[in-house]
Amino acid sequence: MEYNGGCVIAMGGKNCLAVASDLRFGLENFTQGLNTPKMFRINQKMFIAMTGLLGDIATLKQVIEYKLSLYSTKESKTIRPLILVTMLSLFLYQNRFSPFVVETIVAGLNENEKPLICTMDVLGATSFSSKFVVSGTCSESLYGICENYWKPGMEPEELFKTISNCLILGSNRDCLSGWGGMVHIISTNGVETKSLKTRMD
């Protein structure tokens, strides 16, 4: 889990949500690349974000894309966040004895515009939250930071500022995270993507 490093936060606001990750691609201490976000867009209203072994993250992303395209062909509709969570959780548990070394976060807006955010451990155990979820090498720090700064009913602008601050604060104290940041803000108007300028050390 600590080989590549990285961190991800997802936060819920008022009929909107935001997902943020750092951009570092590391090999233990060495920083190989500076533009590897760990978030992947599923559809207009949903993102999946993962931390852990980057090889497994890439593989899992392809597996999810495959399963989703099968789903949308069979069911003739786009998947709902809760169904994706269940599907992923079952899939991760199928590898109970040789797990994907990733911690997944699913973040999506339901039909009623309410955000759904959930985190899963390596074996697919789900943990839902209405506030925020975090994952990564600095997750302990991030829990404390987000607990402090999150408040209910934030609009997209304020949510963006809060999540950016939390990501920067957390990754500044972590040797294996940082080197840039990216935030996706998902609301009824669509998805807005912003890059963060951070310390590059």
């Binding site: 600590e2 490093g5 590391g26 233990e28 201490n29 060495f30 920083t31 500076l34 090498t137 600095c138 720090s141 500044n172 104290r173 972590d174 040797c175 294996l176 310390r199 590059m200 050390d201």
Partner: protein
């Protein structure tokens, strides 16, 4: 790592940090980053790794923070007593040899890689490397710590003998910031200490004031 040895606050045995010292025409410039990490957590982001052992002799420390602090404290005591005995300021080779004696005799117990540099009347500016396990190696420039690996190319191609003070400070600052750019265990601010006949000058260059050398490809 064995479990009866000293507890270290660096998991990475390559000594998470970047330190260097370079001779120039008239003295030495020492540089270091400011990150102390406990595993992957940054325990101190403004640490001072360049410690004085005499008025004009400083030591760059890398490795276990506890070990290097203890060793440097001992050297400082010995140098003070020695300087009283000879009734003069201590010399840089003396300090480096003392470091070597402590590090070599206790090599099984210590994890300390150090660079000793300074200015004295007889030798001028001098830099010595005292790596893990001891040994004493004089060089015109020395790099140390895990971040040093990433800047050997830069240093090899840019070092010139007999640089001016300004050129040398820029050289060290650039090298350390390049190491901080790539090494996960180096970061924070760049600390520079310039030692010459005229005295000791300490500088701290914070992250936003560092040169952004990678701007050709990374905005």
């Amino acid at each position: 790592m064995n479990n009866w040895g000293p507890s270290t606050d660096v998991q990475d045995p390559a000594l998470g940090t970047t330190i260097m010292a370079v001779e120039y025409d008239g003295g030495v410039v020492m540089g270091a980053d400011s990150r102390t990490s406990t595993g992957s957590y940054v325990a101190n982001r403004v640490s001072d790794k360049i410690t004085s052992v005499a008025d004009k002799i400083f030591v760059c420390r890398s490795g276990s923070a506890a070990d290097t602090q203890a060793v440097v404290d001992m050297i400082r005591l010995y140098l003070q007593m020695h300087s009283l005995e000879i009734n003069k300021q201590p010399e840089v080779p003396t300090a480096a040899n003392l470091l070597n004696q402590v590090c070599y005799s206790n090599k099984d117990y210590l994890m300390a890689g150090m660079i000793c540099a300074g200015w004295d009347e007889r030798n001028g500016g001098k830099v010595f490397s005292v790596p893990l396990g001891g040994g004493i190696f004089p060089h015109p420039f020395v790099l140390g710590g895990s971040g040093s690996g990433y800047i050997y190319g830069y240093v090899d191609s840019n070092y010139r003998k007999g640089m001016s003070k300004q050129e040398c400070e820029t050289f060290v600052q650039n090298a350390v910031s390049l190491a901080m750019w790539r090494d996960g265990s180096s970061g924070g601010v760049v600390r520079l200490v310039t030692i010459s006949k005229d005295g000791v000058e300490k500088q701290m260059i914070s992250g936003d004031k560092l040169p952004h050398l990678a701007k050709g490809w990374c905005p």
